[in-house]
Symmetry: C2
């Protein structure tokens, strides 16, 4: 499934970008005056190979997993919060629920490796689906051993691929990435250092709110992790297996599945972008299908965005994950595609063009 | 009406910001992790003096006016485009129509000084209302005379105030500013120079797409305008009358009316922000009611945002006006308020808080 999916991912055909741009120039606005909205609409046209782009159905896949590295005291929140927040998503009480509701976005909440049972599942939230696909009871502590076995990683990736396939079946044309996992900024920082060769001082941030002492400790943990594993940026699957998370592996799979089905992907913050960076390193043509969303407060995020050569659409000083940045960005996509599809041309509107 | 409205504008009560922040801290997210969304929600709470903020009904007021300075050849588009675009708004074919539709925003399209009749008014667009309140057949050419008489300016301001009052009657809780007027970046640049004392080289941009020669000419026109009128930043009403536009005066009035009714205002690009800057200079407490939206490509816009001490929410390289930046920003406001109102607290969701 993994190999077959990767084979299906082809770069977009650039002539569709030109066709879309030719249409933009006919619309009643000065050329390029909608700025990056035009870039978005044109790329969606190329992904869908259509000049009537359609992103009516949007879904965010929130993958949740626990992290063994929490044993090292890298987060101010207890590890149980991962399972508790999954319940909160299903009950409709998290930030992503509010943001998804107002933008008419469906949510897939995926337990791909949450330690312990998810408490109080009631699924009170509309447009929200629970996928219980626990690969393991969280990852192992990657300071002293590989986070996952290769089999666990491949299973998590394939769950992600299936979720994208299911989204395709449901007519989803825009997939957002979301995640939950106490401890996962530590994993994302280690991945960022492994891919970019930047020292942990430049990739480790405060996550959910580490104080100065915890931040210094977190940097030390990432240093020890990198020394222990001796990773190679050219072996991204090994990076993922040794220092990633099950939710990150699942998001890598979502990227693969989406691109193979020509579904555009909207990234989120630091952790989601770590998944995107791994996915692009594994399969470079995937790049054409992925859009950044926001720039988060986490210092490693800008490094990862540079690494994947993407410019975020906004910086609202957010650092929550869950897909909240993806949800906000989706509004921009909706607007971009609506303008492309609905605006009158100069001729239709009898508006005089440039002299 | 003008004086009475200004008297009603009071600074927000900062204790409401504290009450809102206390609520934010109970919600299931790390403190401040929603970044500027929290800043927005808290300020809306203070404006509405409520911990159940409501911005369900949103409206953008698009004021249109023609500019005598077009005679100087400051735009690559003919002056008739102003009237033609008003018709395009009413027929639903402009970018703002698409953006407003997808975000459920009402539109007021106001002819406050369009030269000539607006052609082919059909009002095909839902949620769109035409207000024909032509104060004059556009402004006079401000290179050699005052753009408006004082009476014309006051009339345009009072139309804006009434539009905000009507919005209040209709339950509107968030007003966006929009504008249309070929030539009005020249006016906004002159206003920016007059308020900030920056030379035209730092405030004049390419507008709808001036080439290098036209840009140099536009800078020269603004220089001559500033020399001719000898303006004083401490007399903002005089600045508006002499070098403003009827649509800018009307937007100044919308700001006054909105703040007097405790309605939050979302600015747009360069021209709307010129109106906001004048309005705040005339009535400083107004500042608490106005939010920036995006940063436009026009070079003077960042200067104006600094002048009013506001930080934009995003930079999508847009430069269209019409309220398109306000429409996109309104999605962020909707999300911010939804998260504030709908998120569960740590206690309600049985999620463990920080250790």
């Amino acid at each position: 499934m993994f190999e077959k999916t990767l084979e299906k991912i082809k770069p977009i055909d650039k002539t569709w970008l030109e066709k879309a741009e030719a249409h933009q120039l006919k619309l009643t606005k000065p050329p390029q005056s909608l700025g990056r909205l035009e870039e978005i609409a044109n790329r969606i046209c190329a992904i869908q190979e259509s000049l009537s782009p359609n992103i009516n159905t949007k879904r965010i896949v929130i993958c949740a997993g626990s992290h063994g590295v929490c044993d090292e005291g890298v987060s101010p929140y207890p590890a149980e919060v991962t399972a508790q927040m999954v319940a909160n998503f299903l009950n409709g009480g998290a930030a992503i629920n509010a943001l998804a509701r107002v933008s008419n976005i469906e949510l897939d909440v995926v337990d791909v490796g949450v330690k312990g049972a998810v408490p109080n599942i009631e699924i009170k939230s509309e447009n929200c689906r629970f996928i219980s696909s626990k690969v393991a009871e969280g990852t192992r502590n990657f300071v002293r051993e590989a986070a996952m076995t290769e089999a666990e990683m491949m299973k998590a990736i394939e769950i992600g691929i299936s979720l994208a396939m299911q989204a395709k079946q449901s007519g989803v044309a825009l997939i957002g990435l979301g995640e939950m996992g106490i401890g996962n900024t530590t994993s994302a920082s280690a991945i960022t250092s492994a891919l970019t060769n930047l020292p942990p001082e430049k990739t480790v941030g405060r996550g959910t709110g580490a104080d100065d002492a915890m931040l210094a400790h977190k940097i030390e943990i990432v240093k020890r992790t990198l020394e222990f594993h001796d990773l190679d940026a050219e072996k991204p699957l090994e990076v993922l297996q040794k220092i990633g998370g099950l939710e990150i592996a699942c998001l890598v799979g979502v990227c693969f599945g989406a691109a193979s089905e020509r579904i555009a992907v909207v990234s989120d913050g630091f952790i989601a972008t770590a998944a995107v960076a791994l996915a692009i390193t594994i399969c470079p043509p995937l790049k054409d299908y992925v859009f950044a969303s926001h720039l988060s407060v986490e210092i490693g995020h800008s490094k990862l965005l540079e690494y994947i050569e993407q410019k975020p659409f906004f910086d609202l000083e957010m650092r929550l994950g869950e897909g909240t940045g993806a949800a906000l960005a989706m509004n921009i996509f909706t607007a971009a595609v609506a303008a492309f599809n609905e605006m009158a041309t100069f001729e239709q509107a009898s508006v005089s063009n440039r002299r």
